[in-house]
Structures are given as structure tokens and as C-alpha cells.
């Protein structure tokens, strides 16, 4: 098993952007290195219910990259999120221009050697830092990570495209929702509407409705056809009526999620994305968020992405807290 690479300054910047999000979710994160892509991954156990991963194409983040293992040249390790973030901030702070990353084993004492991820940088000052690891993970654990990474974007029939401002608005809304209800109903329609609604004990309801969001793929977009039948009533009652109508006619994809988890997932907006896509799985088992960085990448819009999966709440009385 061999891993040695040189992070580009872009790569450092990307990692420094993503790792804080993972740090807010949980203490540990897994890093999966494959010949083409670097994945930062947190499963439900690490993040408190969400599954999320950031994907970076190797050519977007590394100047040099050498990897070899018996497991199809893939390597996975587990790290403490806070330690990794500290190292990354150090790299940014020392204006590191050349960062070598290696998987190493150090002899701690006679008969005991432990694995580390070693960062050796040159910049204002030259720094060598070791990040202690769990792992390398075995084949089964690595497959679990791959399962999370590959699960996204397959079961979602269509997406709503939220621009930066709408994404921030949704994050703020979810933050306020926390004070009102533990459970939020989320619905999307092919007419480009997103509904978020919560309630407290039947006496208080609070909701936000977005209309006119672009639908992807474009072939699924029914904004124009839907507009024909809908009067342009911007009434408050209108919002809940429109949702009820869409649910009744089966044109809404509705899922109930934990308000706090939704808010945590929307924290991805702090990575400074260009836009975010939101979609409900066809089996209504979860909703997904994909943060995109279209005009910020060198190797095309798909070079970098942050993916968050928020599970559906199964039982009305089930409380995640």
C-alpha cells in the first residue's frame, strides 16, 4: 500500500472549505482516496443521522498523485475532523506553496508502529505535521464508504435548482423552524416549487414556499404548463392551498425530515457554493442536497461537489433528539 501526493494550493483551499462543515457534523471523518477522486465522507453514525460526502477530482486538488493498494488502488482512512482542520488552517496560514502528503508508519516504541497521514509543506515556514489515523480501513469498510459515495443522485427523478440566495434563505428558514417544530415537511413539484413547513402542536404553523425554481433535467420542468391552471394569488393561505393541491394531485414529492437535520444539511451553504440542488428520492426515503461550485472549478462543474442525504422521518412520533 503506497500513497504519496502533492496538494495544489487550490486543493488546500478546497479542503479548508469543506472540512469545517464535517467538523460541525461530527468528530470523525473518513477519507477515501481512489485513483480519480478524493472523497471526504461521513456516514450517519459520524454525523448524527446524515450521510454526506465532498468529492474532489484528483486533477482539481493535486499536482502529483501516486496511489497503489491491493484493493483496486483505493485507500480509506479515518481521521479526527478537528485535527485535519487544524493542519489545513496551518497550511493556509503559512502560505504553503508545496504540500506533500504521505501515508506513513511511525515506530512509537519498540514493537508498536502506528499509521499517520504526514503533511510536509514549504512556504513562509516549512512544517511537517502528522495526523493520526484509524485504519487504513479494510475492504468491507471501504466498500461501505463507496456505497455512500455512489448512492447519491441515482434515485432522484428531478431536482430543483436553488441559487445561492435561495439556498441561504432556506438555511435561515430551517434555523427558525427549529424553534417551532422538530419535524419539517418538505415537498418539491415539477412546476418548480419548494415547500418547507413545520408545526407546533397543531396550533402554530410556519412555512416557506419558493416558486419559479428551475427544474432539472429540463425535460421534467412543468412550470409553463402548471402556470396555466394556477391563478397568481400570492396569498398566505394560497401557499398551503397550493401545497395541498399538489399533494392531492400527486404532483408533489413530499417527505418529512427532522428539522435540525435539514438545518445541518443546509449548512453546506457555508462552503460558498454557486448553487444547490434539492431533490426527493422516488421512494420518499430521503431527500438530497447537492452543492455545486460551477464557476469556481478549473476542471469543469463536476470536478467538485458536496452531497448531503437527509433521511425521511418514518414515524410521526419518532424523535431524533
Amino acid at each position: 500500500m503506497k500513497f504519496k501526493c502533492t496538494l495544489s494550493s487550490m486543493g488546500v483551499t478546497w479542503l479548508e472549505r469543506f472540512v469545517p462543515i464535517f467538523e460541525k457534523m461530527g468528530k470523525e471523518l473518513s477519507v477515501l482516496f481512489t485513483p480519480e477522486t478524493l472523497h471526504l465522507v461521513q456516514g450517519a453514525a459520524d454525523s448524527g443521522g446524515l450521510e454526506l460526502h465532498a468529492d474532489l477530482l484528483v486533477k482539481e486538488a493535486f499536482d502529483e498523485y501516486r496511489i497503489a493498494s491491493n484493493n483496486a488502488d483505493k485507500i480509506a482512512v479515518k481521521l479526527e475532523t478537528a485535527t485535519l482542520y487544524r493542519v489545513l488552517r496551518g497550511l493556509v496560514g503559512s502560505e504553503a506553496t508545496h504540500v506533500e502528503v504521505k501515508l506513513i508508519k511511525r515506530v512509537i516504541r519498540e514493537g508498536l508502529s502506528l499509521p499517520f497521514l504526514n503533511f510536509a509543506s514549504t512556504g513562509l515556514v516549512d512544517i511537517t505535521q502528522d495526523v493520526p489515523l484509524g485504519g487504513p480501513l479494510n475492504k468491507r469498510e471501504l466498500e461501505d464508504l463507496e456505497h455512500i459515495v455512489q448512492a447519491n443522485v441515482v434515485n432522484v427523478p428531478y431536482w430543483l435548482n436553488l441559487d445561492r440566495q435561495a439556498t441561504e434563505g432556506a438555511h435561515q428558514a430551517a434555523e427558525r423552524f427549529k424553534a417551532v417544530g422538530p419535524r419539517t415537511e418538505l415537498a418539491t413539484t415539477k412546476a418548480g416549487s419548494l415547500h418547507l413547513a413545520t408545526a407546533k402542536g397543531g396550533s402554530v404553523t410556519l412555512g416557506t414556499e419558493y416558486r419559479g425554481l428551475p427544474v432539472l433535467p429540463v425535460a421534467e420542468d412543468q412550470y409553463e404548463t402548471a402556470q396555466g391552471g394556477v391563478d397568481d394569488d400570492d396569498d398566505a393561505a394560497g401557499a398551503s392551498e397550493r401545497l395541498a393541491e399538489a399533494v392531492a394531485s400527486g404532483s408533489a414529492a413530499l417527505v418529512a425530515v427532522n428539522t435540525k437535520q435539514l438545518w445541518k444539511g443546509l449548512q453546506g451553504v457555508q462552503t460558498n457554493p454557486s448553487n444547490a440542488m434539492i431533490g426527493v428520492a422516488s421512494n420518499r426515503g430521503h431527500m438530497e442536497l447537492v452543492f455545486r461550485y460551477d464557476r469556481q472549478t478549473v476542471n469543469g462543474p463536476d470536478a467538485v461537489g458536496l452531497f448531503v442525504r437527509v433521511p425521511a422521518e418514518i414515524d410521526e412520533d419518532f424523535d431524533f433528539d
Binding site: 416557506t208 419559479g212 425554481l213 428551475p214 398566505a236
Partner: protein
């Protein structure tokens, strides 16, 4: 939509929430809302029934305000607050939680507030429309935030609320000072952990003092310069010299519950703006009435990032409002207290003063019975 009794629009959402927050006297606070032609009054009462807080949002406070008495039907009800065409009770915590969801929209759009819907609920909504950043779509992005709050009926029925209201009458003494000055005095008197006394006299010279005497700490006393021409007070009248004592918790709630951002610094007068003023009146039985004349428009500007002064992008309309309110605030010192329940009742249209009124009963005969006067 003529079946709404109340159909109002709020354009200063953050200030609106902040002012309502001052009504929170107990953990689970019910408030009683009265809708009248002249405005909306929200009343909260402490569980002890000895402290009451009230906010009066007059019709001019709202960006638009419509009351339809004919839609009130059987809900119509005359209360002590005025000629209310409708009244309902709400859980204040829920109201504030929900309004906070609208706060980020402050300055971007108006909050529509209507009552009642089919379930007798208060219905809130705000709508923003902007051009989509994505040109491929070419359609406007619309966001509607909406909420409904069902009325609370338990604990405070609409009929008993009016009867239970604390009554202030027979004003004897009064003084007025900047809100932040009163707040500082009350905060300073927290330390002895004891009831707070307000003493006023007119002989030999006008005097005003606040004091608090703890069993272990001795007496802490703050004298305010009440001589004619004093810069500390804008009004002083004392028909009956004496001292009245109030529960500290009441005074704290009355003097400190408005967020500082809303009342501004105490000594802004030199800079041309008038600070938020508070008028304290003592009436029959030592009942105290504390009226803060909150300037909503200015607070909205403070929230917009600057501080309590004119130099904002608001333009002509705003400076007009400033002019109106500056005059109004100076005037209210004299007009607020004369027996009426509305502190700023004589404000003309164009001014945006929101009176926040606290009424508290005095502690009765505590000197001997409770031992606050023990020798140290």
C-alpha cells in the same frame, strides 16, 4: 378578502418583534390582543396579577392598516382598552418564534398580518419576488413565508381579560428621563436583591431617589438631580411627597426588557436626535405606570447596520419621519400621562412612536412587617 377583521402590514419587522419581546413577563406568557380602529393593543400580565405590560401599535405604525368591524360578527367585544372590534389571546413565545422567521426579510418586504382565518387564527405572510439569477429560466423567483397561530383560550378568556386589567388612576407624581438612564439606575439597584423604592418630594427642593435595601448589603441609593432645569429629567411634578416600594423583578421587567438597540444611548440629545424617553407616573395607592416611547423607525435603521442617526440611504421620506417623531417625542412628556392609558395618544399621523406601558402595584406596608428596615 373582506372577511378579515384585521388586515395590517408591518414594514419594520425586527423592531416589531423586539417590542413584543418586552411583554414577556413569565415563562409561558399569554398575551391578549385587541383590534380597534385606532390600532392594535397587546397586553400581558404577570401571573401575580400585580404587573402588566402593554404595547399599543397605533394604526400609523403600520405600513397599511385596515379594520373591518362588520366582519367581526360575534367576536366583537368591548374591552377596557378602547373600542375593540375583536380580541383574542395568543401564546407570546409562539408568536415571537414565528415572527423571528420573518425577521431576515426586514427591509426587503412587508409582513402581512391578518385575523381571523376560518380557525380564528392569526395569519402572517411575507412575499419577496426577484429576478432569477439563472437566465435559462427567465422567470421570477418568488418566496412566500407564511404562518398561522391559533388563539389560546385557556387561562385567559376574552371576557375576563378586560376585567382583570390593572388600573392606574389619580396621577400624583411623575417624572420623565431617557429610557437608558432609567435602565441603568434599575440595573445598578439589582445587587441588594431587595424591593426597590422610589422616593419623591417637592420640599424643601424637588428631589427624586431610587433605593434598595438588602438584609446583608445595606442600602444602595441613587439620587437624581430634580432641581428645575436639571439635565437629568425632562419632566418633574410632585403633588404628594412620599416613597413607594415595588418588587425588584417588576422594576427590572419594566425598565430593562426593551433591547438596547431599540432605545438607543441615553445622551444622544446633543447630536440632534432625541433619545427614547420614559415617563414614570405614580398614582392612587402607589400604583406606578412606566411608559417607554419607543421610536420604531430609528430602531429599524440601527438594525440596518448603522446607528440611530440620519445618514442612511432611506432618503427624503425617512428624514421626514425623523422630523415628525423628534417633535412628537419632545411633546409627549407633557401629554402622555394625564389619566389616559395611551402614552403617545396625541401623536399625529407620520410619527412612529410606539408606547410600551408597564403598570405595577406597590408593595403594601412592607417596612415593618417584612423586616426590610432591620437595623444592620
Amino acid at each position: 378578502m373582506d372577511d378579515w377583521v384585521l388586515d395590517a402590514r408591518v414594514d419594520q419587522i425586527r423592531s416589531f418583534v423586539s417590542v413584543l419581546g418586552a411583554l414577556k413577563l413569565s415563562k409561558r406568557q399569554l398575551v391578549h390582543v385587541s383590534v380597534a380602529e385606532r390600532g392594535v393593543t397587546v397586553v400581558a400580565q404577570d401571573p401575580s396579577k400585580s404587573l402588566q405590560a402593554q404595547v399599543n401599535f397605533r394604526a400609523e405604525t403600520f405600513a397599511s392598516y385596515r379594520v373591518n368591524a362588520s366582519a367581526a360578527g360575534t367576536q366583537g367585544h368591548v374591552s377596557g382598552v378602547g373600542s375593540a372590534v375583536g380580541t383574542f389571546g395568543l401564546d407570546l413565545g409562539s408568536l415571537i418564534d414565528v415572527l423571528n422567521a420573518f425577521a431576515p426579510l426586514d427591509g426587503e418586504c412587508e409582513l402581512s398580518m391578518r385575523w381571523p382565518d376560518r380557525d380564528n387564527s392569526l395569519v402572517l405572510a411575507a412575499l419577496t419576488v426577484r429576478d432569477a439569477a439563472d437566465p435559462h429560466a427567465g422567470r421570477p423567483a418568488r418566496m412566500c413565508t407564511h404562518a398561522s397561530i391559533a388563539p389560546e383560550v385557556d387561562g385567559w378568556s376574552t371576557t375576563s381579560a378586560a376585567d382583570a386589567e390593572l388600573v392606574f388612576r389619580g396621577e400624583r407624581n411623575a417624572f420623565a428621563m431617557p429610557t437608558t438612564a432609567l435602565r441603568e439606575i434599575v440595573d445598578d439597584l439589582e445587587w441588594p436583591c431587595a424591593p426597590m423604592t422610589i422616593a419623591m418630594s417637592s420640599h424643601p427642593s424637588p428631589s427624586l431617589s431610587f433605593s434598595s435595601k438588602g438584609k446583608d448589603t445595606g442600602e444602595l441609593r441613587i439620587d437624581v438631580d430634580a432641581t428645575p432645569g436639571s439635565s437629568a429629567l425632562t419632566e418633574f411634578s410632585c403633588a404628594e411627597s412620599g416613597a413607594w416600594t415595588y418588587r425588584y423583578r417588576f422594576m427590572k421587567a419594566a425598565a430593562s426588557s426593551l433591547p438596547p438597540a431599540l432605545v438607543g444611548p441615553a445622551h444622544a440629545r446633543e447630536e440632534g436626535g432625541s433619545p427614547t424617553m420614559t415617563r414614570v407616573a405614580i398614582g392612587e395607592g402607589g400604583v406606578v405606570k412606566i411608559v417607554h416611547l419607543v421610536h420604531m423607525n430609528r430602531a429599524a435603521h440601527a438594525n440596518a447596520g448603522g446607528h440611530h442617526h440620519h445618514h442612511h440611504s432611506g432618503g427624503y421620506g425617512d428624514s421626514q419621519r425623523y422630523g415628525g417623531v423628534g417633535g412628537g417625542t419632545r411633546g409627549t412628556g407633557g401629554t402622555a400621562g394625564h389619566g389616559g392609558t395611551r402614552g403617545g395618544g396625541t401623536q399625529g399621523p407620520g410619527s412612529y412612536v410606539v408606547p410600551v406601558t408597564f403598570v405595577a402595584y406597590a408593595e403594601v406596608e412592607i417596612d415593618e412587617d417584612e423586616g426590610y428596615n432591620e437595623p444592620l
